[in-house]
Amino acid sequence: MEKVFFLLFAATAIASALGVVLAKNPVHSALSLIACFIQVAALFILLRSPFLAVVQIFVYVGTTIVLFIIVIVMLDIRQAKFDRFIPGNLLGACSVALMLGGIMVAMLLRSERLAALTPQGELSGTTDELGKAIFTQYLLPFEVVSVILLVALIGAIILAKKENT
């Protein structure tokens, strides 16, 4: 049963990811990206991490993609719709990426150590343990990350401000 759900979510995620790369209009790309992120959030539920699934939807879908759409609407995208792809060396870039992907997938599927790995028992109350881990063992990285977020916020405001006002 879990496999069925996994295949369903994975197929939709890959299809919408292809939509992101191939869509002509940036708005369609952003909407495909929303679909992809929601599928990935569903996969996080399958991986027994409900907190990360909710954070995924709140942060990615709720703010990141909305920010993208606001910027797309704010800017004039009519000229960006022409010539979607970089001219010329398209085939080279694609073949290198596909080769890398083929090697990765082949090595993952042939690995015996990965196949032998199965979860022993459930993590009890993952959100509980996640909170304890963040606020005890990883408190310093957590504070550093929040400072980085604040700095990025101020930097974004200063960068996007009009120069001579």
């Binding site: 990206l33 920010l67 910027v71 596909l98 199965t118 993590l123 996007a160």
Partner: protein, 100 residues
């Protein structure tokens, strides 16, 4: 029970799709979205290992990755807005201010 390799293969496929998007698209916005896709596939890997190894540290790392991604997108979109205002372009190969 879903084998661990399936999750990793899915993450690899999403990563490659994002990589192709970064390499071949011209619009900065699409390149940034493909970058999001790549970071997200890394999160799938982290959570898969966190579940299969019964270790909470994968989830802690995923929280940090999500936070840094949000910061990165805010700064990148601010740069896009500033670039659109000053140079009036969104094409990745016309962003060559540093090389002039």
């Amino acid at each position: 029970m879903v084998p661990l390799a399936w999750y990793l293969v899915l993450a690899a496929v999403l990563f490659i799709i994002g990589l192709v998007g970064v390499l071949v698209r011209r619009s900065v916005l699409i390149v940034l979205m493909s970058l999001e896709l790549m970071l997200n596939s890394v999160n799938i890997n982290l959570l898969a290992f966190s579940y299969y190894l019964q270790d909470i540290r994968g989830q802690v790392l995923a929280v940090f990755v999500i936070t840094i991604t949000a910061a990165e997108v805010a700064v990148a979109l601010a740069i896009v807005v500033a670039m659109m205002r000053n140079r009036n372009t969104l094409h990745v190969d016309q962003i060559n201010l540093m090389s002039d």
